[in-house]
Symmetry: C2
Subunit: 122 residues, 2 copies
DNA sequence: TCAATACTTGCATATTTGCGCAAATGTGCT
DNA sequence: AGCACATTTGCGCAAATATGCAAGTATTGA
């Protein structure tokens, strides 16, 4: 059993569980961040076309960005008729941020933190 | 004056101030995350060679990763003799994570969140 | 049924990125 | 000075990524 302890927000966590490259990678693009920002301030879920207005990218690119954010768990999608409404995964997102912060604080100089593997081939 | 309010952690913040692509990009690589994890659990600052053990990458690659993390403000470096000791920017890191979480929570459906520009040309 | 609308996906292209190797730089030691 | 060790940097390559355009798939409405 690895050393863990109650965090500020009352969860148990291990650092590496929060260190997901794909998650950060999803947020590591200016246009995707613009999309996230746009969704964060939206009163309600937005369609792809609506979201598209926030960055000067072709609608197909926006669609791809949203798909990627969805795959990373940053946003959620719901298909309604011929349109798809995207919204920020609010609690997951803030939960991940605070969880990671807590995990870093709670990190003891003993647990060997092994790298998450997910990236390129070599 | 844009709408802001005291956050859970007592700071004032705007969402876009925390949404820095370069920061997420720095953390969006498996090997760099491994490095971060390694440094997080380290009792004291580590040299490049020491850090290198945590991921199967040539030492020059590790050096580059650390330089990138440093440029992003994730780690700090101190040159001591012929070696360079890297450590996690602990408070900055957790502060950014919680600050962003707070900013997202505090985000009102009114402030237009304009995209941070930093990425590729077009 | 037909056309318009909303979104996704295949493809080609340009750019970025991660990597190893070798050379360069910097520092300590004898 | 001469040498070993630590780190950085130039270079080239292969893989990944972002993007636009065009074609494909649904779905709505006339």
């Amino acid at each position: 059993m690895t050393a863990q302890r109650k965090s500020r927000s009352g969860r148990m966590e291990t650092l590496t569980a929060w260190l997901r490259p794909g998650w950060f990678k999803a947020l590591g693009d200016p246009n995707r961040l613009a999309i996230v920002a746009r969704l964060a301030c939206a009163a309600k879920p937005m369609t792809v076309s609506e979201v598209g207005g926030c960055c000067g990218v072709h609608i197909s690119g926006v669609s791809r960005h949203l798909a990627l954010l969805r795959a990373a768990g940053v946003v959620a999608a719901e298909k309604i008729g011929r349109e798809v409404r995207y919204r920020l995964n609010l609690s997951d997102l803030t939960g991940a941020l605070r969880g990671l912060a807590d995990a870093i604080d709670a990190c003891e100089p003993s647990e060997l933190c092994n790298p998450p593997r997910e990236g390129r081939k070599k």
